[in-house]
């Protein structure tokens, strides 16, 4: 009996390992495919020969990207956007989440405040009115247009406030007994204790800003001000030839249709995020868990 069980267990473990390995592989395949295309010759790609391994290996696409001004500028803008966005978002997330993590007995109108914020997750004026407001503030074509309209990320606020709420109450209470106010409690006690969840939320913020493409297209007045994601969208997007009747215009466009180049840029666009997240990942276990799980 025991023998049989042990055997079954072994079989299960073997299956389990292979299944999970297969899952990981499925998640990796797309990435590998892009990488393979980016290192393959144009002829091999056009011939549909590239799947998981470069065919007729060449670094041509990367040398070309390195000299491509649009790509480098937009990457720079994305970096600026992420820096600015993370500072603004995190500051506001913490400042908003902390009071909301208090009970109604400690903060008057708490429920009212909370609903004011949550309401914005559901109702929005839509693209055009938001555009008009952003324009009224003169933010069009500036980095701020990508940061301020979403300055208070409600979802992250909710994550943080749940985490704050589940910190032992005794800590802040004893701080108060020592005469500290809310500001000191927040910065001296709560924030240091919340580093895992702050790291997690920071990562979400970084990735969110890095991948966001729609606002860039709408708010920027010049392609050289696009962040990387918007720029990538314009090169990945399908070209419409229906309305083009000018042979010169067509020739120019066809020169752009280079899949290896596109793949190389897509891959390079993913690299920063792929580099950041394994480092922050170790915080996830403690960070993501909406505290609640542990009671």
């Amino acid at each position: 009996m025991v023998q049989h069980n042990a055997w079954g267990r072994k079989l299960f473990i073997a299956l389990n390992y292979s299944l999970l390995a297969a899952m990981s592989l499925v998640c990796l395949l797309p990435l590998i495919n892009v990488l393979a295309v980016s290192f393959s010759s144009a002829a091999a790609i056009e011939g549909g020969k590239v799947t998981l391994w470069p065919v007729e290996f060449t670094t041509r696409a990367y040398t070309f990207v390195a000299s491509k001004k649009e790509f480098l500028t937009s990457m720079g803008i994305s970096v600026q956007r992420v820096l600015l966005g993370v500072v603004v978002n995190m500051l506001l997330t913490i400042l908003t989440a902390y009071p909301l993590s208090k009970e109604i007995t400690q903060l008057r109108f708490r429920t009212g405040y909370a609903w004011i914020f949550v309401f914005t997750m559901l109702f929005s004026g839509g693209l055009i009115p938001t555009y008009m407001v952003v324009r009224e503030f003169g933010l069009i074509d500036s980095l701020w247009s990508l940061v301020l309209p979403g300055a208070v990320p409600i979802f992250n606020v909710i994550l943080m406030l749940n985490f704050f709420r589940n910190l032992p109450k005794e800590l802040s209470e004893s701080a108060f007994i020592d005469g500290a106010g809310h500001w000191q409690t927040l910065w001296r006690i709560i924030v240091p204790l919340s580093m895992p969840s702050i790291a997690t939320v920071t990562l979400f913020t970084i990735v969110g800003h890095w991948n966001e493409w729609f606002q860039g297209l709408i708010y920027m007045n010049d392609p050289i001000h696009y962040p990387l994601a918007s720029y990538l969208q314009t090169i990945v997007v399908k070209l419409d030839m229906t309305q083009l009747n000018d042979p010169t215009a067509l020739r120019f466009l066809s020169e752009l249709n280079d899949r290896a180049l596109r793949a190389a840029q897509i891959f390079l666009g993913m690299v920063p995020v792929l580099c950041v997240y394994p480092f922050l990942q170790r915080y996830f276990m403690s960070g993501i868990v909406l505290g609640s799980v542990k009671e």
Binding site: I128, W144, L217, M220, D222, T248
Partner: protein
């Protein structure tokens, strides 16, 4: 303790204040940069009216100079492939400098986006009511702006300020373009394209494949189907694999590349409603009752769809054509998988331009479209009506200024041709200056005339009568014939047997079909066109793929009539713009 607390509060407030202040200062700068163009003309105007009225000069006709200079705002779409020499940009180049120094017009681009983003960005701009002095819009947006009353009536400024040459470029060929730009007797826009018939389809066939399967160029539609089937089943590329398709097709259904117009025309059907189009640029035919009827619902369309269904079933069409775009269908062709396509004159320049060079032994022939019976075939053209217009904001202080710019443009490129304003080749890169200006005009038959001239010159071996541009084409053809395969496209455009040769035949024999309706999109077309278009694309696609039986066509026709089609027909027939 208390002090410390306030210090911290102060710190946080300071940071936030900084955020707001920088945002606001940015705000002011931004406002200045973006608003001054529209403000300063009025500022100029009021300044001049109060103190220096006598000094302000403005053009009193097609030519002249603004002094002091005026600022004119516009918005731009950039063909992502257009290149600039060091120091040049859309904002500063040979044309902007010329406009400023010669005309006293400083053109300011409020925004620039790539071609693909233009429609969306324009939609946002229109909706937020932030119009520049003049701008390029598509036919549907033109209609919306006219109805909203946001754009200026140009009738008087056109009469007074457009030069003779500008008028000729707009009115040539019966004035169809001007008619389309006129709403209720008022000229509301400057047509930006149209007038041409060069979009009529030809058949592009791999000549080496034809030889391999032992067939001749098509004389009838049955031949076309025979070739498509042979290209699918008889291993035309001789690689021993069943991996080829007979007819190129993609999700667009109607397009200058891999479209079906030429195929339908063979069955005397003239449908047109591209998947990515506006859904308002429709073809109408004269019905038996003398009234206009929609071309897409005619029984001939059903016949042709039936043939396509058979071709699909036989494997002659790429099975997933409905999700690939023109780029992808082009890739299939260039990767030696597809041997025949219908397309406009420009197909040799894209996507098959490099095939002869990259794929030794391959070559393409260009043939006129053929008929399914003994009735002569008509090639449809939708290029006669403009699809885009330049419009002028009602708020603009100088509604005549765009015409002054346009006059200069046609003068420099079509009257007193100046190479320095057209293009330059440096370091193997072509800098197309003529694509820089914010407004441009053209002559519809320019390319056709050039092709005739080049063909004459080739036949007589005498290029002396050619103008600068035509001479370029001639030289390219000569270079190709001397062995430079990268110039294959020039041969297939301009030389005898090229695409303009084929289209020229249609024109000479009067075998071009154009819609009988010459008006602008009607209100129902604007409102329901896109969703009706989607339904049509869905219907055609599923019939071709065999997901729906051919008779589903009749069901769709009824449905179309009931969900807005009838209103469209009523509007068209009461428009008074039926040819």
């Amino acid at each position: 303790m208390v002090v410390k607390k306030w210090k911290q509060l102060a710190l946080v407030m300071l940071v936030l204040a900084l955020v707001t202040v920088t945002a606001c200062s940015k705000d002011n700068n931004g406002e200045k940069a973006s608003n001054s163009p529209s403000d300063s003309p009025s500022a100029n105007a009021s300044a001049s009216s109060s103190s220096t009225t006598a000094k302000q000069t403005v053009p009193d006709g097609p030519t002249g100079k603004y002094d002091p200079p005026i600022e004119l705002t516009t918005v731009r779409s950039v063909n992502a492939g257009v290149k600039f020499q060091a120091g040049d940009s859309l904002d500063s180049n040979v044309w902007t400098k010329d406009f400023e120094s010669v005309l006293g017009i400083k053109v300011i681009n409020k925004w620039k986006v790539s071609d693909q983003q233009y429609q969306n960005k324009m939609a946002v701009t229109m909706a937020s009511g932030d119009l520049p002095d003049f701008m390029l819009v598509d036919a549907q947006q033109f209609q919306i702006l006219v109805q909203a009353g946001t754009i200026a009536d140009l009738t008087d400024v056109y009469a007074k300020y457009a030069s003779e040459l500008t008028k000729k470029s707009i009115e040539e060929g019966g004035g169809l373009r001007l008619k389309a730009s006129t709403v209720n007797g008022k000229i509301m826009g400057i047509p930006a394209d149209g007038g041409g018939r060069d979009d009529a389809h030809s058949i592009y066939i791999r000549t080496d494949w034809l030889k391999n399967v032992g067939l001749e160029p098509p004389k009838t539609m049955d031949d076309v189907i025979k070739i498509a089937t042979a290209f699918t089943k008889n291993d035309p590329d001789k690689n021993g694999k069943n991996d080829t398709y007979g007819l190129s097709l993609d999700m667009s259904l109607f397009n200058g590349w891999s479209g079906l117009e030429g195929f339908f025309n063979g069955y005397h059907a003239y449908p047109f409603n591209p998947t990515k189009g506006t859904g308002t640029n429709l073809n109408f035919v004269k019905g038996a009752d003398g009234k206009a009827a929609w071309a897409d619902v005619q029984p001939e369309v059903k016949t042709a769809l039936g043939k396509l269904q058979e071709l699909f079933k036989a494997g002659a069409i790429y099975p997933e054509f409905s999700v690939i775009d023109g780029i992808k269908s082009g890739e299939l062709v260039t990767s030696n998988k597809v041997g025949m396509a219908f397309g406009a004159f420009w197909v040799p320049t894209w996507p098959i331009n490099n095939m002869k060079k990259d794929l030794p032994g391959s070559d393409w022939g260009i043939y006129p479209i053929v008929s399914a019976d003994d009735k002569p075939v008509m090639a449809q053209s939708t290029g006669g009506l403009p699809s885009k217009y330049y419009v002028v904001s009602k708020e603009s202080k100088h509604p005549e200024a765009p015409f002054i710019l346009l006059n200069r443009y046609v003068d420099k490129l079509f009257s007193n041709f100046d190479q320095a304003y057209h293009s330059v080749d440096a370091d193997g890169v072509n800098y197309a200056f003529h694509m820089y200006p914010p407004i441009n005009g053209s002559f519809a038959e320019k390319n056709q005339d050039a092709a005739y001239a080049v063909q004459d010159a080739i036949n007589s071996k005498d290029p002396s009568k050619l103008d600068t541009e035509q001479k370029q084409y001639y030289d390219q053809v000569e270079k190709y014939r001397a062995g430079d395969l990268s110039l294959w496209a020039a041969e297939k455009l301009w030389a005898p047997g090229g695409s303009f040769d084929v289209i020229g035949q249609y024109k000479k024999e009067n075998r071009i079909f154009q819609s009988v309706f010459t008006g602008n999109p009607t209100p129902t077309m604007v409102a329901k066109g896109p969703s009706l278009r989607d339904e049509e694309v869905r219907t055609f696609t599923s019939i071709i793929m065999g997901a729906k039986p051919l008779d589903y066509f009749d069901e769709w026709v009824t449905k179309w009539m009931d969900s807005g089609g009838k209103d469209i027909l009523d509007e068209v027939n009461s428009s008074g713009q039926i040819q």
